[in-house]
């Protein structure tokens, strides 16, 4: 009961000093917004990378020459299917296309090698030469829709006209935004790629647990190849995003320091009115412990309010607004993707981490000022004026 009453008094006393409360609350919230945006966005990018890779092949084999990615001969397929544990090998044809008109990069992909979950299509897949399906980002940048025409310049500098038969509406934004899909034959003609070569080979295995072993075997039978497993790719992505997020957090820790100094200052610099008030409380029978409790409640109430509103604002920023700037920094590239709209999620681990990063410095920097206030001499009030 005593705890609740003092909580009530603490809340009332915060409300009685709107100026000071707001000042600290705004800075506190701002700090939480920044940190929370970084955390949410990192997590969102990781989730996105996971969904993006989930539909892809378990193992991709590239050819390297002089340490660089090369087209791989289709004949390598025979060698790979002989390796025990390999279920199927498919050559894939895909490549990049720089669109000078909009200044963006498209990914051109052969139809045969499309993963099946790309069926989230408005319209239908292209069936013959002169048809294509495009991603939402391409459609937006070119201002074209279903049944419109897409003109691309091929390897020989000849403009080619494709009819758009479908537009992707996939939930995983990154995956299909910049995609242009057409049957494999026309794509080879477009790129001028001979039939004997492919961009890379997608390998399907029987037992997913053996992917690493099979990758090793492939490396041994095709020494100039580079097998990339899906989990390895995922790990790299996660590590990269975590690293970037961590770097950002480390940078923002200087902001955290500034905040601590401010919190300290606001809490130490008791105004004359507050000093007097605490003196009166002590004189009318509040104990040091009671005043400490009062200060504790004030701090917790401020923290909770700042934390909730900060998370809420960051949530809105990241998941509805798309945080153009932060997203660009964290992703490291900003090509066609107009705005990142990740699927909203709430992760209690992240909220815990965030609370740790923000509330602990606040509490730590207000302990001593709160104690200073709490040990005010009750006798002080007896002296005149």
């Amino acid at each position: 009961m005593r705890y609740l009453k003092i909580l009530e008094y603490a809340l009332a006393s915060l409300l009685r000093r709107p100026g000071k409360t707001c000042a600290i609350l705004v800075v506190y919230t701002l700090m939480i917004v920044v940190l929370a945006s970084v955390l949410f966005l990192t997590q969102a990018l990781k989730t996105e990378a996971t969904t993006m890779l989930a539909g892809g092949p378990q193992l991709v084999v590239q050819k390297t020459m002089a340490g660089r990615h090369e087209l791989i001969p289709v004949s390598a397929v025979e060698k790979l299917v002989e390796i025990p544990g390999v279920k199927a090998v498919k050559p894939r044809v895909w490549g990049y296309y720089y669109d000078a008109l909009t200044g963006t990069n498209y990914t051109l992909q052969g139809f045969d090698t499309l993963a099946n979950e790309l069926s989230l299509l408005n319209g239908r897949l292209p069936r013959e030469e002169g048809e294509c399906a495009i991603g939402a980002g391409v459609a937006r940048s070119r201002l074209i829709h279903l049944q419109d025409e897409l003109i691309l310049i091929d390897y020989d500098n000849i403009g080619r006209i494709f009819t758009v038969t479908g537009v992707f509406v996939s939930a995983a934004d990154l995956l299909t935004q910049d995609l242009v899909v057409m049957p494999e034959g026309p794509l080879r003609q477009f790129f001028g790629m001979p039939d004997s070569l492919a961009t890379d080979l997608a390998v399907e295995v029987y037992n997913p647990n053996e992917v690493d072993t099979i990758a090793n075997k492939i490396k041994r039978s095709l020494p100039d190849s580079r097998p990339i497993t899906q989990s390895e790719l995922l790990r790299t992505y996660h590590a990269v995003f975590d690293w970037r997020g961590g770097m950002m957090l480390a940078l923002f820790s200087s902001a955290l320091m500034a905040f601590c100094i401010l919190a300290w200052d606001k809490a130490t610099g008791l105004s004359a009115g507050e000093r007097r008030e605490i003196g009166i409380l002590k004189a009318v029978g509040w104990d040091t412990g009671d005043v400490l409790l009062l200060k504790l409640w004030e701090g917790l109430a401020l923290s909770l309010l700042a934390f909730l509103s900060g998370c809420l604002i960051a949530f809105i920023l990241v998941f509805w607004w798309g945080t153009p700037v932060l997203g660009g920094i964290l992703r490291g590239w900003s090509v066609l993707f107009p705005a990142l709209r990740p699927t909203p999620f709430i992760d209690f681990y992240q909220l815990g981490t965030l609370a740790f990063l923000t509330i602990i410095p606040y509490v730590a920097s207000t302990v001593i000022p709160a104690w200073r206030a709490a040990v005010t001499d009750p006798d002080e009030v007896m002296r005149a004026s």
Binding site: G245, G246, A250, L292, T353, A364, V367, I368
Partner: protein, 336 residues
Amino acid sequence: MILHPGVLALLLGGLVSLLMLSAGALLGIRIARRWNPDGAEADQLSLERRAWLVAVLVRWAIVFEALSLLLFIYTAEVIHPLFVGAMCATGTLNANPIGWHLIWIKLLLFLLGGLWMVLNHLDLQCPEAPLTRFKFIALIPFLPLAIADLTLMVIYFAGLEPEVITSCCGALFSSGGDGLASELAALPLRPMMIVFYAGLAAYGCLVLLSLLSRRPWMHYLLALASGLFLVLGLTAIVSFISLYIYELPTHHCPFDMLQRSSNFVGYPIYLSLLGATICGLVQAMLEYLCRIPGLSVITSRAQRPWLLMTLFFWMLFALLTGWPVLFGPLAMTAYF
């Protein structure tokens, strides 16, 4: 080095609680040196006021440490995809085995901190404050622990390399491996269950008996039993309770039960085990402090509530560990 947000949060928390604990302990030692109830009034007053600061600093540091233990296990869980072969927190801990030391250090800090807070509370209730000097000197062991905690945390995270191929709970807690963990998992099931439930029953009886009788040795025995109970409980969790919780005959991981997939059942299990241990240890402390003049009334008044709390935690633990074994779908009879 892994620059994961959770890692940053842990390091920050460790640093802050180390700073607070060392400030508290140093201040506490100074107070203990100068403490003199018959000394000059003004000096004594300022010492009394500083004692408040120490109490507040230590309390927050302990709270941070307790939360940091949770966050540590969770972070280990969350970053496991970075390590080849890791499937849960165990894998991350194995990636740099120092991690295991961190767990017991944090646990010890939490247990000692809990006891210290009880001690402080008792001292504040007595006008003669007979424990003041003792309680501040008792802060000294916290310092090396907190320093070890932060240093090991830095070493642990600095030594984590994402390429490391680690072994996970499957290997660590498999009956075939060697080392303590494997031995725990390899303990024969039926004798282990008999020992555990016999121990559980004996501990409960001891708590009930202590409630009825007021003999001092009973309470010391209870504290001793609490320590044994903690060890027995942890062993049993790895050995067979985990199997019944996951409903898998070979999954011995002590951390997976903190996850959503097991409905967070690990929290009440560990909480009740630690709660029963702390409350049992407090009994011995109360019994010991009874001899100090001026405190006997307060301690003997406090004994009963603490015993009741021990009983409550014991019942909770018995219920949580008994339920899946008795009524769970997993039938381990083939393994007996």
